[in-house]
């Protein structure tokens, strides 16, 4: 049985309940949903914060490692006196200061094939924001296997892209990108906090749309933007029927590029 909106909810969310087409039913779905946030860096940390203040019921934050000084140009959930502290602990504490009603479960781990299914299974949506290709692939595969929708977003320098995945219906991450770029440096990519935050906000909007049914998610579409030039483009994207992750078993052999 779904938890209903109480008096405090109605007051707290009254301004978003007047959005064109957004109703109490949308807000109730949000309140009763769990979002898995893979990565609480400049992108995923922003997504987590905006889902929390929008009224999501539960967040599962997965990110390994401790806060460093060089994270602070993009971390909105963490303060300089927390350097050396586990990032998921910092994120949970800040989210609870801002939105105490949100349940926050934390995991100081990397996402690998062996543990990712466990994170995905009881989630209503996954947000993909880890800074490396293998963890993004592991999350995509688990979401496809367990039929959990996913918002994929990534950035480099002043460029970013995002799209949403409805398993078995729209292109998955592996349909589009089979292999990592061997030049990618997990700890070396250039990042401006205002750009990672912009992408994180957009991913929060996508997650809210996918969870609630409000608006039109980026299904079978990819939004690409460059904030140096303020150049925004949307392209149509296709499933690969021979995709080894989401294609039908009969067609998986001889995967096309």
């Amino acid at each position: 049985m779904l938890a209903q909106l109480n008096t405090e909810d109605m007051e707290r969310f009254k301004r978003q309940l007047t959005l064109n087409g957004y109703t109490k039913e949308h807000q109730i779905k949000l309140k009763n949903s769990t979002a898995l946030i893979a990565g609480v860096g400049g992108v995923g940390g922003t997504t987590a914060l905006y889902l929390a203040i929008a009224g999501i019921g539960r967040l599962k934050l997965v990110h390994s490692g401790a806060l460093t000084s060089s994270n602070l140009n993009r971390q909105i959930l963490m303060t300089e006196d927390w350097i050396g502290k586990a990032r998921v602990d910092c994120a949970k504490e800040t989210i609870h200061r801002i939105a105490s009603g949100v349940t926050v479960d934390i995991y100081n781990e990397r996402m690998i094939a062996e543990n990712t299914a466990g994170f995905v299974r009881d989630s209503d949506i996954a947000v993909s924001a880890r800074p490396n290709f293998p963890e993004r692939c592991a999350l995509n595969a688990a979401c496809i296997k367990h039929n959990v929708p996913m918002v994929e977003g990534a950035m480099f320098d002043m460029d970013a892209y995002l799209f949403s995945i409805k398993p078995g219906i729209t292109p998955c991450f592996h349909c589009l990108f089979k292999d990592a770029d061997h030049r990618w440096q997990e700890l070396g990519f250039p990042v401006l906090g205002a750009l990672s935050g912009t992408l994180g906000c957009m991913m929060a909007v996508e997650a809210i749309k996918v969870i609630t049914g409000y608006g039109s998610p980026l299904y079978s579409k990819m939004l690409l933007f460059n904030l140096a030039n303020m150049d925004f483009n949307t392209i149509a994207i296709n499933r690969n029927p021979r995709c080894q992750v989401c294609g039908s078993p009969a067609k998986r052999e001889g995967e096309e590029i």
Partner: protein
């Protein structure tokens, strides 16, 4: 064979400093793979391509006036 002029948008790790869109002159009916050879960028099996906003494969043919986007996988989060 006559020439065709296309607009190329390089994305992410392929983008060069201070450079947005570029114009490229190719032979008419060249494929994306052939056009990439003119761009001095490293070819990669995992690039995503679009012509005029439509996802296409590397053997898609380019026509005069087309806009080609070349999108490598990126993972910043």
């Amino acid at each position: 064979m006559s020439n065709a002029t296309i607009t190329v948008k390089l994305f992410g790790t392929l983008r060069r400093k201070d450079e947005s869109d570029q114009t490229l002159t190719i032979s008419e009916h060249e494929t994306i793979q052939q056009a990439i050879a003119r761009l001095s960028i490293e070819s990669h099996s995992s690039y995503l391509y679009s012509i005029n906003g439509q996802h296409v494969k590397a053997d898609a043919i380019l026509y005069d006036g087309d806009t080609l986007m070349i999108i490598p996988p990126i993972s910043g989060g």
